[in-house]
């Protein structure tokens, strides 16, 4: 850290700061490089080989970019990419819609004091559960024979919606999207409520004094905050989804995954762990491509959402 470029430094780095940094920030960074970055570099390296994961990696297993060429022409992987994006899009729409609806309702409409807190308490519960439990519950709810969803639909006269071959065979992505959204709404709703509550009360007061009615206030005061927060939520969902899609698909669909329901993470996992003929190099090449796609999409969305700064600033 040179003292020359003073415009970069607003505070001169004194010894105390350097020590603090070295103590608390350097070790985690190093560990992160070790546990986070190194495995990725390693997988890039291994993706250039054809390796079953068992014997030692020899140099004659080197296939260069062969794995990559194979992966991008593999129909199942392309389906996986498509499925990932369908799920993410579905999640974004459902979660944002419900989050805004619930958050605005619970803050702007008058409910009995206990009632609103009750809702806030209950809605967050899915975030507290493990994906194992969630998948078991929902698998049973939508089961054609033992589930409760179909009888309920029949009772309200929506029997036409019931698919003949069951929900997971005919609409696997729909099921995953819904369950994932069910899990996600709670936390984002609370974040949104916090943002709305963070708006200065005086703004509302002066607006009322100026004669604006409820809807106008909603539009001009509440909405900007919601918009800001929505951007944050959109980006966060995106970041998390590529990974959580895999856990959800794995938990709910397990071995019955086919090209209708495979996601990128699942493709990687299937070709290395869960296979009779594991091809670790091949699955890593898919992983690297997944990483590139994820990073590219995240960057693009981040830019769109917030101009040059990141939503997290």
């Amino acid at each position: 850290m040179s003292r020359k470029k003073n415009k970069w430094l607003r505070q001169p780095p004194d010894r105390s700061k350097i020590i603090f940094f070295l103590c608390f920030c350097l070790p985690p960074l190093l560990l992160y490089l070790l546990f986070g970055v190194y495995p990725i570099l390693n997988s890039v390296y291994v993706s250039l080989f054809e390796w079953s994961g068992f014997d030692k990696l020899t140099s004659d297993a080197f296939v260069g970019l062969g794995n990559y060429f194979e992966v991008i022409t593999e129909e199942e992987f392309l389906c996986a990419i498509r499925n990932d994006f369908i799920i993410i899009l579905g999640k974004e729409i459902i979660i944002i819609a419900l989050t805004v609806l619930f958050a605005v309702s619970l803050t702007r409409l008058k409910f009995r004091k206990g009632e609103a807190s009750l809702y806030r308490f209950v809605f967050f519960i899915p975030n507290v559960l493990s994906v194992v439990i969630i998948s078991i519950i929902w698998t049973f709810v939508i089961d054609p024979n033992f589930g409760i969803l179909n009888p309920v639909l029949r009772a309200v006269g929506l029997a036409d919606l019931i698919p003949a071959s069951g929900w997971t065979y005919e609409h696997p992505l729909g099921v995953i999207t819904f369950v994932a959204s069910w899990c996600g709404v709670g936390m984002f709703m609370l974040i949104m409520i916090a943002a709305i509550n963070g708006i200065n009360a005086e703004m509302y007061e002066s607006a009322t004094i100026d004669g604006a009615n409820e809807w106008k206030q909603l539009r001009y005061i509440t909405l900007p905050a919601i918009r800001e927060q929505s951007k944050f939520i959109v980006v966060t969902i995106l970041y998390q989804s590529f990974s959580s899609n895999f856990t959800m698909v794995q938990a709910m669909l397990g071995s019955s995954v086919n090209s209708d329901s495979v996601v990128m993470g699942m493709f990687v996992y299937q070709n290395s762990f869960d296979s009779q003929w594991p091809r670790v190099g091949y699955s890593y090449s898919a992983a690297v491509i997944m990483l590139v796609i994820t990073a590219a999409v995240s960057l693009i969305v981040n830019r769109i959402m917030s101009g040059r700064r990141s939503v997290y600033d």
Partner: protein, 499 residues
């Protein structure tokens, strides 16, 4: 900010390209390309048959294989004899076992291990019995530090890879010359017909059978009796049975869409085997089971089998809901009489024993899809065990295998796992359930032809055929495919697999 990242990204890409261009190999390699060879085999009734020339096979490296060794002439009951411990050396050292706990449970293994420990008090036995054991041990196999003995069942069990990479010990000596523990009976005489096979075109044996395993169709005898129906035993009977069932308001057939392998091996493949036996061409069966070449799927015999499934599906005989179900919920549905017939393995009774309603009499029939007059076939495979090549105490492992073939232990396995033993031990005195007794009778009956499955494997075509049968069965117009389309898909997948 974006620009910096773009620059870094492009720099990385260029560097990668430079590095790999030196060793570029643009051909895609499929690991699953397998070269097979023809082997002569012995038929169930003792006659030696070699692969007939009439069967046309493509030169893309795919011929049939069974590699199956069959040394005795029949499957009659035979006891190996009482154990005389003095005939065996006492073992010492440590002995580690990897045993997956699944549909067969763990009690039989615990019994065998306990008894083995009694006979070898200086042996330090460390048995890992767990549902997750295969995943846990995986890296140990990779590091060449495996346990000594392994039960080759369950998920996360890449036995093919191990055999390919020589991680399993060659047991051909044990098979040829070994004796059942503490007796004078040769192991190869005591085992049932056709359960042992050489690996591909080698003369090595990597797996030894412990339990007979097969699929078939299951039904509730009490339910059938109450309706006045009799069990269908061929396709003609099956069609009228299904029609009667549907008329009475009960779905005839159900299978788990999530695991359509049950349908493939419980209904489809016995019919394929039957076609093969009827046309005196067992190669045909093995070619199908190995997805050896593309032409086998276009063979009219195979097409006929798929067409039968399609006919049944079009007539509405398959439970459509079950396409979304897993094996448990479909079995539960069947137990509740939502459907009459279900294809399943022999572990069905054991698996659902806590859920069987009162009055339900579970019974088994091997094959229902073959034409009238064609032979009824049981595709016999087995639950296998192996020894690690780099295990520390392979002697103990081999001795343990020979111990599993003793009468007492074999009988216990048949009892506790509710499936027939791989040995010819007499189980008439054992405590078997009615269903298990019936299964044993069927297996030993002369009306039924046993076709050994050997070491056949679909490879990557497995996923395709599972998907394809679901698509044939589904009556949803978006999902349904015709038999021609199905065959096309299978051929494409086979081409890809064989490289």
């Amino acid at each position: 900010m974006g620009k910096k990242y773009l620059k870094t990204l492009s720099a990385l890409t260029v560097i990668c390209l430079l590095i790999t261009c030196s060793g570029c190999n643009f051909t895609t390699t499929t690991v699953t390309s397998e070269i097979r060879s023809t082997v002569t085999y012995v038929d169930g009734d003792g006659s030696v048959v070699s692969a007939p020339e009439s069967h046309d096979s493509e030169s893309s490296g795919g011929q049939n294989t069974s590699g199956i060794i069959s040394n005795i002439q029949d499957n009659t009951v035979n006891n190996a004899g009482e154990i005389d411990p003095s005939k065996e050396e006492k073992l010492s050292g440590s002995f580690e076992l990897q045993i997956f706990v699944g549909g067969y449970g763990s009690e039989a293994w615990e019994y065998a291990i306990a008894k083995f420990e009694e006979l070898n008090p200086e042996l330090e036995v460390n048995a890992h019995l767990d549902t997750n054991v295969n995943a846990q041990m995986k890296t140990r196999w990779a590091k060449d530090n495996p346990p000594d003995f392994v039960f080759i069942e369950g998920t996360n069990m890449p036995a093919e890879v191990w055999m390919e990479e020589g991680k399993l010990l060659d047991l051909s000596d044990l098979y040829e010359n070994g004796k059942v523990y503490g007796t004078d009976t040769l192991i190869k005489d005591q085992l049932k017909n056709g359960l042992v096979s050489y690996y591909k075109n080698t003369d090595k044996i990597y797996q030894m059978p412990v339990l007979l395993s097969t699929y078939g169709m299951w039904y509730d005898e009490a339910f059938l009796n109450s309706k006045g129906w009799s069990v269908p035993k061929n396709y003609t009977q099956l069609k009228s049975f299904c029609a009667a069932s549907k008329k009475a308001g009960v779905t005839p057939l159900i299978y788990p869409g999530n695991y359509s392998g049950y349908l493939v091996w419980g209904l489809l493949m016995p019919a394929v085997a039957s076609e093969a036996v009827a046309s005196n061409d067992l190669d045909f069966f093995y070619d199908v089971a190995n997805a050896a070449n593309e032409s086998v799927f276009a063979d009219k015999r195979f097409r006929r089998c798929l067409e039968k499934i399609s006919e049944l599906a079009k007539a509405g005989y398959f439970d459509q809901n079950a396409l979304s179900m897993n094996h448990i919920t479909s079995q539960a549905s069947w137990l509740a009489h939502n459907a009459v017939l279900i294809p399943n393995g022999l572990w069905l009774e054991n698996e659902m024993k806590n859920s069987i309603p009162d009055g339900f009499r579970m019974r088994y029939y091997p094959a229902m899809l073959q034409d009238e007059g064609d032979p009824t076939c049981i595709i016999a495979s087995s639950a296998m065990v192996g020894v690690a090549a780099k295990g520390k105490n392979t002697e103990a492992a081999k001795a343990f295998i020979s111990f599993l073939y003793t009468d007492d232990v074999a009988r216990k396995f048949a009892e506790l796992c509710a499936v027939p033993s791989a040995t010819r031990v007499d189980v008439s005195g054992a405590e078997l359930t009615e269903a298990a007794k019936q299964v044993n009778e069927m297996i030993n009956s002369s009306d039924v032809r046993l076709v050994a499955k050997g070491s056949t494997t679909w490879g990557s075509v497995d996923a395709t055929i599972n998907e394809v049968v679901n698509s044939i069965v589904s009556q949803n117009p978006d999902k349904n495919i015709s038999v021609d389309e199905a065959i096309d898909k299978l051929q494409k997948a086979t081409k890809k697999k064989n490289g």
